[in-house]
Structure formats: structure tokens, C-alpha cells
């Protein structure tokens, strides 16, 4: 026998949206940090990107707080399962995109290291993790947010 807590679909939708926004903002922070570390940018460009990353970090922390106060969290975070079918479908689709982008990027990096190991010597393990994490977070959140975008009630 399974027990199911009645959660309103709108609360689940808000939870999924906030979660995707957190991942998008953290993805942005990781990517910007990776770019600033990897490329030798002009001081003003680094400063602009650092401010953008800081703003994203603040935004992400705001949404983390919002998600933690959402009553849906306890039910969905256990198995990352949504009671609403469509929300479950787009959550899984987001993971599919994230997996494929991680799989492809890691394959490309692996191929590069096989043919020219020196090319990646400039990457520290921290930069490498940040870039892959940034890519994974962004490729999860963008399709989810796109599929969640509002349409008019007919």
C-alpha cells in the first residue's frame, strides 16, 4: 500500500520552476567562473562577469530559500518524482538533456586528451568540474523553463 500526500499541481509547478532557476543561476556562476579562469580577459570584462556571477549567486540563494520553504519539497525531493504527469515528463526531459550534454562533452574532452594531452593541461580539476557542472545545470534548466513557459488559458 502506498500513501500519497495531496499536493496541488500549482505548488509542484512552482517548485519545479524554482528548482530549474536555481540550476540555471548556479550553472551561470560555474560557467562564468570557468570562463574568467580559463581565458585571459581584460580587467573590465572580468569585473563585469564577476558582478554578473555575484548577482546570479544571490539570485540562486534566494531561490534555494524559496524552495526550502515550499511544502512540496519533502514529497518530491525523495525520489524527484512529481505527481503531475506533465511536470514529471518535463523534469525527466531536463535530465535527459543534462545527461546527453555531459556525455557528449566528456567524450569530446576524452578524445582531445587521447590525441593531445597537452591541450588540456591548462585546465585544473576545479575548472574542469565547473565547466561540466555549468553545462549540465544549464542544459537541464533551459528546456524545463522553456516547457514551463506560460500560455494563455483557452
Amino acid at each position: 500500500m502506498t500513501t500519497q500526500v495531496n499536493v496541488k499541481p500549482i505548488h509542484e509547478q512552482n517548485y519545479l520552476k524554482d528548482n530549474a532557476l536555481i540550476k540555471l543561476l548556479f550553472g551561470g556562476v560555474f560557467t562564468i567562473d570557468g570562463i574568467v579562469t580559463f581565458f585571459e580577459l581584460a580587467t573590465w570584462a572580468s569585473l563585469v562577469l564577476a558582478y554578473a556571477a555575484f548577482a546570479m549567486l544571490i539570485g540562486a540563494l534566494f531561490y534555494v530559500f524559496k524552495v526550502f520553504t515550499n511544502k512540496v519539497r519533502k514529497e518530491t525531493s525523495k525520489y524527484d518524482n512529481f505527481q503531475d504527469e506533465y511536470l514529471n515528463h518535463i523534469n525527466m526531459k531536463g535530465y535527459k538533456y543534462a545527461f546527453n550534454s555531459a556525455f557528449m562533452s566528456l567524450n569530446v574532452i576524452l578524445a582531445v586528451t587521447v590525441f593531445s594531452g597537452d591541450l588540456l593541461a591548462v585546465f585544473s580539476p576545479k575548472d574542469f568540474c565547473q565547466l561540466v557542472l555549468g553545462l549540465v545545470c544549464i542544459s537541464y534548466s533551459l528546456p524545463v523553463l522553456y516547457m514551463l513557459k506560460d500560455t494563455e488559458d483557452e
Partner: protein, 70 residues
């Protein structure tokens, strides 16, 4: 041979003059689920199909139709 799933939810809704939100609330799903099912972007489970049939008081086949395309 390809198959496409067609549905008559929009027609049934407009006959009864109910909004997507009202239908969604009645069967316990999000409005997004209803709108994406209506436009054919999302194929629902049997559970939702049966809930829709019960709500509209028609057989499932009157709501969903499998069309064969040569």
C-alpha cells in the same frame, strides 16, 4: 505506416463552456497538462484518459482517436 493521436478535448470543453483551469482542477492535474494534451504535445497516461472520460461522461474513444497515416 505512422500513427497520430488526435483528441477532442477542446471541442468537449467548449461545448460545456469550461476553461482549461477548471478542467485541470476537476481531474487533479496542472493546466499545463491539459493544454499540452489538447495540442498533442504530450500524450497522457491511461489514468488521465479515464479521468477525462469520467468527467465528460463519454467513452475514452470519444475523446482520443488513433489516426493512421500512410
Amino acid at each position: 505506416m505512422n500513427e497520430t493521436l488526435d483528441n477532442h478535448i477542446a471541442k468537449l470543453r467548449s461545448k460545456r463552456k469550461i476553461s482549461q483551469q477548471r478542467l485541470a482542477d476537476a481531474i487533479g492535474v496542472s493546466r499545463k497538462t491539459i493544454s499540452t494534451v489538447e495540442t498533442g504535445r504530450f500524450t497522457p497516461s491511461v489514468v488521465i484518459a479515464l479521468k477525462l472520460a469520467r468527467y465528460f461522461e463519454v467513452p475514452v474513444e470519444r475523446i482520443f482517436e488513433l489516426e493512421l497515416i500512410d
